[in-house]
């Protein structure tokens, strides 16, 4: 269990920028996730922690020790690859034992540790199987067991679930989290799937085009995004460009070009937002921010689309020239149809103001 610190790291591949000026601190035992669209530099960052790439500039520390250019085999890390990268010429047990053999442990210890970890990942009776006789999910577990058995200081996982089908993905997600909690190993997890990131992580780093967009807990990322990228990338939201018409006490009134007027709260704003009258800002309203019937911030409009999911009713409502997505928890009341008029309201605390 070690901490990881990355200081001002930039990685260039020739002229292509992998990541730029990255700073980051992962605490011991933390489950930390790199989240972002494909090509944003997640793998590049992970591989610099693993030692497969060296930063062009900047430093990497494990527990305060500079490992920037330390060879990967000297780092005591466990890594799970997207394609599992199992050794096809070895059995399950031989795969798991590999790292222990490298460490020259006595045979009996190896046996014992392999058996224990195989139990932990629920592969009890598969020890002597060949790799190509396993299903994708089982291969996944072998890869995890192989990385964990060496008792790594840091566990690195690069999109470990992306090759599994949807159902298995959910199962394995829970499984990985369970094992991680049980062992308490510092874990860095790479994914482009926000559900995975939100459900597993202690903290998330959201990246885009080689830049860090925000670091925070899942709640912070969801409720207090720092910028429009994070707000739209995580979950769904209605993003409106509006003008501040007045600020009175802690109430902010905003107005859109086509006359939609809403009120929010001063503290419902992202960090860098400077609220000033007549300035243009972005307003993020999550679909679940809407409530049925009239109230504060009543909006009236025509229904363009209805969807019943059981848990909720999802509407797209045309209000003052803008289409808004709204999600109303299913309380048993009647469901309206397309082209019906509907009246909803948005409690002011559910408005969130963003600068850029």
């Amino acid at each position: 269990m070690k901490s990881v610190r990355i200081e001002n790291v930039t990685k260039k591949f020739g002229n292509v920028l992998g990541v730029s000026e990255l700073n980051l601190e992962v605490k011991p035992g933390e489950f930390f996730t790199f989240l972002g669209p494909s090509g944003c530099g997640k793998t590049t960052t992970l591989r610099m922690i693993a030692g497969f790439y060296y930063p062009t500039t900047g430093k990497v520390y494990f527990d305060g020790q500079d490992v920037t250019t330390l060879q990967p085999n000297k780092r005591n890390i466990g890594m799970v690859f997207q394609n599992y990268a199992l050794f096809p010429h070895m059995t399950v047990d031989e795969n798991i034992a590999f790292g222990l053999q490298v460490r020259k442990l006595p045979k009996s210890d190896i046996r014992q540790k392999v058996d224990r970890i195989r139990g932990l990942v629920h592969l009890g009776q598969y020890g002597s199987r060949k790799i190509n006789e396993l299903s994708g999910g089982q291969q996944q577990r072998v890869a995890l067991a192989r990385a964990l058995v060496i008792e790594p200081d840091i566990l690195l996982l690069d999109e470990p679930l992306s090759n599994l089908d949807a159902k298995l993905r959910e199962e394995t997600r829970v499984e990985i989290k369970r094992i991680q909690t049980e062992l308490g190993v510092t874990t860095i997890y790479v994914t482009h799937d926000q559900t995975e990131a939100m459900s597993m992580s202690d903290r998330i780093m959201v990246m885009e085009s080689g830049l860090v967009k925000q670091v925070g807990t899942p709640q912070e990322i969801y409720h207090k995004p720092n910028n429009r990228f994070v707000a739209t990338f995580i979950g769904e939201t209605n993003m409106l460009e509006m003008k501040v018409s007045s600020i009175e006490g802690d109430v902010v009134t905003v107005e859109s070009e086509n006359g939609l007027i809403l009120r929010g709260l001063v503290n419902g704003a992202a960090k860098e937002v400077q609220l000033a009258a007549d300035s243009t800002i972005h307003v993020s309203i999550r679909p679940e921010a809407f409530e049925a019937g009239p109230g504060d911030n009543t909006v009236k409009g025509t229904i363009e689309f209805v969807e019943f999911t059981g848990l909720s009713v999802n509407y797209i409502v045309h209000v003052n020239g803008t289409s808004l997505k709204a999600m109303i928890i299913n309380g048993g009341s009647a469901i309206k149809a397309v082209r019906d008029e509907i009246e909803l309201h948005i409690p002011p605390r559910n408005l969130y103001f963003l600068a850029e």
């Binding site: 693993a50 030692g51 497969f52 060296y54 250019t69 330390l70 060879q71 990967p72 085999n73 000297k74 780092r75 005591n76 890390i77 466990g78 890594m79 690859f81 997207q82 394609n83 990268a85 199992l86 050794f87 096809p88 010429h89 590999f98 790292g99 490298v102 460490r103 790799i131 190509n132 890869a143 192989r146 990385a147 060496i150 690195l156």
Partner: protein, 571 residues
């Protein structure tokens, strides 16, 4: 102490981290290529300008007064063009018949169609002269049948060369064409037919365009191999070809002229190599052979069926006869076969002698030793070069690849002349020794001629091995070397072995460079065959040949097994 270790580590890691470190790693590869490919080539090049008047040799070559050289150049080109055409016709036709039609005897024929690949060049030509040469079995048979004064026909001269070329090289066309035909999606053709396209239209608009890339690639290859051909002209007495002229100039001691001829032939060969590589890079490989079952049309009508049976029987015979005749003659008493159709007296002595008579066994043992030395070199170089090529990133990759391919593209005769030019004096690349006349020159020649074999098969295996598998091993704490031993080697072993076996048999059978380079103390197998032939010891020569064919068959079998095995275990 600790500080020093720390310092050394950081010094080492700084060195390995340097973007130039990789060049240190690959420098031995380039050094070897420089010493044994570039430098010998350059030595020949220099020698071709020797004399008072630097261009004298070239002037002589192109002089219109004594046109031997120009004639040789023309003959080589002429023979090569005709060979390409014949090989293309035979190879593509065979591919179509075997891939698209069902007829009696197809299965046997589709195995035998590859027989020419199992014949070492010298042995192949040998069996052809026994079968169709002036005193060969068939001409004699017809002479006796019709009681003629002289044989009615025989294989000789340029046409003899072309027939042998066609027999030994049509497989290049056959292999690429049948791969392309397998890849042809039958539904494409059906679609065309259903749209109302007639047979000819389907052919010209659908099938031919799909086959063109493979035909062009094979044409370039056959042209190159024909230009380099030496054994066939030698056995059929066609002195006016480039390779023969080089051989004659060399044996007459006219080294400068040999160097000039070599240089000119090299330029032609390298030019073709470059065109070939350019063409292959340009064309995109479409691998369509995914489970599309090619349906074979059955030959049904009576007369067609009869014709197809006769033709496939004839084809089978033509393909199998060269091996049968070798086996037959290998049992014949030396000197017993003079003007008869077939040898009259038979014996097992030649085979016994192979392993019991010291003088008969010697050349086999020589070739095994020299081949083994060369092959060990090929393994070390080939595996290292393949790893560098596939896994490291550095500038000069295509240079490395080209330099490895060049000796393969150069005619064996030229390789020999180059080595003579470089190593008949003391050279730093030979540890200040003269190599010519020693044991070492032939292993060196074999090493150079077979450079790409292990390299190619190993890179193919490596390309299939995902880099992340190596990284997984590293992340688990294994050093690079440990990873290489326990992960990379086992997983590429089948490729390495396939290339190694191929290099070994080719070295053991190598004739073209051997005949120019061998020293009398270590005569290789192929030269021994040649000498036995000229001493009219046909039996022994053929027994040697049969031994070689057996060796090749074993190797082909093992390679086949290996490639199947690895395909099965790849995930």
């Amino acid at each position: 102490m600790k500080q020093q270790a720390e310092y050394q580590r950081s010094w080492w890691s700084r060195a390995t981290q340097s973007p130039y470190f990789v060049y240190l790693l690959i420098s031995p590869l380039f050094l070897i290529l420089f010493a044994y490919v570039v430098y010998p080539f350059y030595s020949t090049f220099l020698q071709s300008f020797a004399g008072n008047d630097t261009l004298a040799n070239y002037r002589k070559f192109f002089s219109l007064e004594s046109t031997a050289n120009l004639e040789a150049l023309w003959n080589s080109v002429y023979i090569s063009i005709i060979s390409v055409i014949c090989c293309a016709v035979v190879g593509v036709t065979m591919a179509f018949l075997l891939e698209r039609y069902e007829f009696p005897g197809r299965r046997l024929l589709s195995v035998l169609v590859l027989v020419p690949m199992a014949l070492p060049p010298l042995v192949g030509v040998l069996s052809f002269t026994f079968l169709y040469g002036e005193s060969g079995i068939f001409p004699r048979f017809f002479q006796h049948l019709f009681s003629l004064e002289e044989v009615p026909f025989s294989l000789k001269g340029i046409w003899g060369v072309v027939v042998v070329h066609t027999f030994t090289m049509y497989t290049y066309f056959y292999l690429t064409a049948s791969a392309a035909i397998k890849g042809l999606d039958p539904s494409l053709e059906e679609a065309a037919t259903s749209l109302g396209a007639g047979r000819i239209r389907v052919w010209t608009k659908v099938i031919l365009p799909m086959l063109t890339p493979s035909i062009i690639a094979s044409s370039l290859l056959v042209f190159m191999v024909s230009m380099a051909s030496y054994t066939a002209p030698l056995m059929f007495g066609v002195e006016r070809t480039m390779t023969m002229q080089i051989y004659l100039a060399r044996t007459n001691g006219n080294l400068d002229m040999a160097a000039t001829q070599s240089t000119i032939l090299s330029i032609v060969s390298i030019l073709f190599l470059l065109i070939m590589r350019w063409y292959q890079n340009r064309r995109n490989y479409q691998n369509l052979s995914k489970g599309v079952s090619v349906h074979r049309s059955e030959v049904t009508s009576k007369p067609l069926k009869t014709i197809s049976i006769i033709l496939s029987f004839a084809g089978t015979l033509i393909l199998i006869l060269p091996i049968l005749v070798l086996i037959l003659i290998s049992f014949s008493k030396d000197g017993s076969w003079t003007i008869q159709i077939l040898p009259t007296d038979y014996t097992l002595d030649h085979y016994k002698a192979l392993f019991t008579d010291e003088r008969t066994w010697r050349p086999i043992w020589n070739s095994i030793q020299m081949g083994a030395v060369a092959t060990v070199g090929n393994i070390l170089f080939g595996v290292a070069a393949a790893y560098a090529m596939v896994r490291l990133s550095f500038k000069g990759k295509s240079l490395l690849d080209t330099l490895i391919m060049i000796p393969w593209a150069l005619p064996g005769t030229v390789v020999a002349v180059n080595l003579i030019a470089a190593f008949s004096t003391e050279s730093p690349f030979a540890f200040n020794q003269v190599l010519i006349g020693t044991f070492w020159i032939l292993p060196l020649a074999y090493f150079v001629r077979h450079l790409p074999l292990v390299f190619r098969s190993t890179s193919a295996s490596l390309l299939q091995l995902d880099q992340s598998v190596e990284e997984a091993s590293r992340s688990l704490g294994a050093s690079w070397w440990y990873t290489f031993r326990r992960i990379v080697l086992p997983l590429t072993l089948s490729g390495i072995i396939a290339g190694t076996l191929l290099a070994l048999v080719q070295s053991i059978g190598e004739f073209v460079a051997s005949i120019l380079l061998y020293s009398t103390t270590t005569i290789p197998l192929s030269v021994a065959i040649f000498q036995k032939l000229y001493a009219f010891k046909f039996g022994t020569a053929c027994a040697y040949g049969v031994l070689q064919i057996l060796l090749i068959l074993i190797v082909l079998l093992i390679s086949e097994k290996l490639s199947k095995g690895s395909a099965g275990s790849a995930i």
